[in-house]
């Protein structure tokens, strides 16, 4: 019983912790992706 998840709140708690980390990562990745995508645009 100690280790199980029986309420939506506990379920959310577990998932939201990870989600916030992922949100941060995704913003960084979006920045890097944009840089990668547009870096050579000026070369033509």
């Amino acid at each position: 019983m100690e280790h199980g998840i029986y309420t939506l709140h506990d379920f959310m708690k577990q998932n939201e912790d990870l989600t916030y980390i992922l949100l941060g990562v995704s913003l960084v990745l979006a920045t890097l992706a944009w840089m990668f995508l547009t870096e050579r645009d000026d070369d033509e």
């Binding site: 709140h9 959310m12 708690k13 939201e16 912790d17 916030y20 913003l27």
Partner: protein, 392 residues
């Protein structure tokens, strides 16, 4: 250079009045810490949030929306020709968010030291909380605004290298600003969805986050129109030619933007009524008429006047309509957070603020006003610094 132009000595009438307000206000703040919140406020167990929360979070944050809306318009939506207002918008945003975070932390919250030290958030982040999301976004967004704001200070102080380095991230910052703003502006509305039975059904809606976000757009645009107008009135001598040239274009473009956002807002409000079948509330009680007044009188009408102003290139009409729109936002946020909250309680049990609450609120606004004047008269907000060529 220009700070001497406005300096008519320290003892002007404005400064005197402001000084009196602030001194009394500081004494009241001292009382708040001496005797607890109960000593100066009417906060109660039924109304744990009074006008401070309503004003400093729910109204000041949409006022600060001027920052991200302008940034998005100029940097992302191709309105580069109105670049002159970006600095003012960033300043408004920065001051608004500092006001929101600062006044809530230092005044409203029971244990300010715990927020300042951030200790509970590190040990036990309440990630399921909508308020946690708001707090996190506000902290991050203040950082973004600070980075956007620092170049002006650098120009003022002559730190060329730092300034140029800071300006490199402009695009990324504009995008972060929009993402973070969308998150917390909408979550401010979502915060009330958790308490479905305490807010009157006409204001309660699963769409609250969308309502709050969309209304923050026209709020921000209106605030920018109002602030440029105020600056043009008081600080015209500081504005450079470029600013004055672009002024009319900015007013027209932003008025048009606000009008479109308001149209969208009106539409989704009606959809909200329809999907939850709330029509019968409209004419069944005072709340119904109050809702109609808010929606028709403070959204639909200003929307129409914005449209007329844009069609007739009547900037004066747009400027006044912006004030009207902002009043509508203030009304809406007070409705959701106080007036229509606990609608089931009889009138005798409702909350009215004490004069001290109001006074402290005015004190904070006064201080922010003074800071705004200090910055505008010193830093290159309304003009380009002669030593630094505009980077666009």
């Amino acid at each position: 250079m220009p700070d001497k132009n406005s300096g008519r000595g320290l003892f002007t009438l404005t400064n005197l009045v402001a000084g009196i307000i602030v001194i009394i206000g500081l004494y009241l703040i001292f009382l708040r810490f001496k005797g607890g919140l109960g000593a100066v406020t009417n906060f109660s167990d039924d109304y744990p949030w009074g006008i401070w929360k309503s004003f400093f979070i729910f109204i000041v944050v949409p006022i600060g929306a001027a920052g991200y809306t302008t940034g998005a318009a100029v940097y992302l939506f191709g309105m580069e020709k109105y670049h002159s207002v970006v600095r003012l918008a960033v300043l408004i945003g920065f001051l608004s968010y500092c006001t929101a975070a600062g006044s809530l932390t230092l005044l409203d919250v029971g244990r300010p030291e715990r927020i300042i030290m951030a200790y509970p958030f590190v040990v036990q982040p309440g990630t399921t909380s909508l308020l946690f999301e708001v707090a996190l976004c506000v902290v991050l967004y203040i950082t973004v605004l600070l980075i956007e704001f620092l170049p002006f200070s650098c120009e003022w102080l002559g730190y060329r290298k730092a300034r140029n380095w800071l300006l490199k991230g402009t695009l990324a910052l504009a995008i972060f600003a929009v993402v973070l703003s969308t998150m917390h502006q909408s979550t401010l509305g979502a915060m009330w969805t958790i308490t479905p039975a305490k807010l009157h059904p006409l204001w309660q809606s699963p769409y609250l986050p969308v309502y709050f976000f969309v209304s923050s757009i026209f709020s921000g645009l209106s605030v920018l129109i109002i602030m440029t107008t105020i600056c043009k009135h008081f600080f015209k001598h500081l504005m450079n030619e470029r600013y004055l040239d672009e002024d009319e274009g900015v007013i027209l473009a932003f008025g048009k933007g606000a009008c479109v956002a308001m149209l969208g807002y009106l539409t989704i409000q009606v959809f909200g009524l329809a999907t939850a079948d709330k029509w019968h509330y409209l004419f069944s009680s005072m709340y119904g008429y109050w809702y109609l007044l808010e929606l028709l009188g403070f959204v639909a009408l200003p929307c129409l006047f914005f449209a007329m102003g844009c069609r007739e290139k009547n900037t004066k009409l747009i400027r006044w309509t912006a004030v009207w729109t902002l009043l509508g936002i203030i009304l809406n946020r007070f409705n959701v957070t106080l007036l229509c909250y606990n609608y089931h309680l009889p009138f005798s049990e409702k909350y009215t603020p004490t004069w001290m609450e109001v006074w402290i609120l005015i004190t904070v606004v006064t201080i922010v006003g003074l800071v705004f004047r200090f910055i505008v008269t010193r830093m290159p907000i309304l003009y380009d610094h002669p030593d630094f060529k505009s980077h666009h």
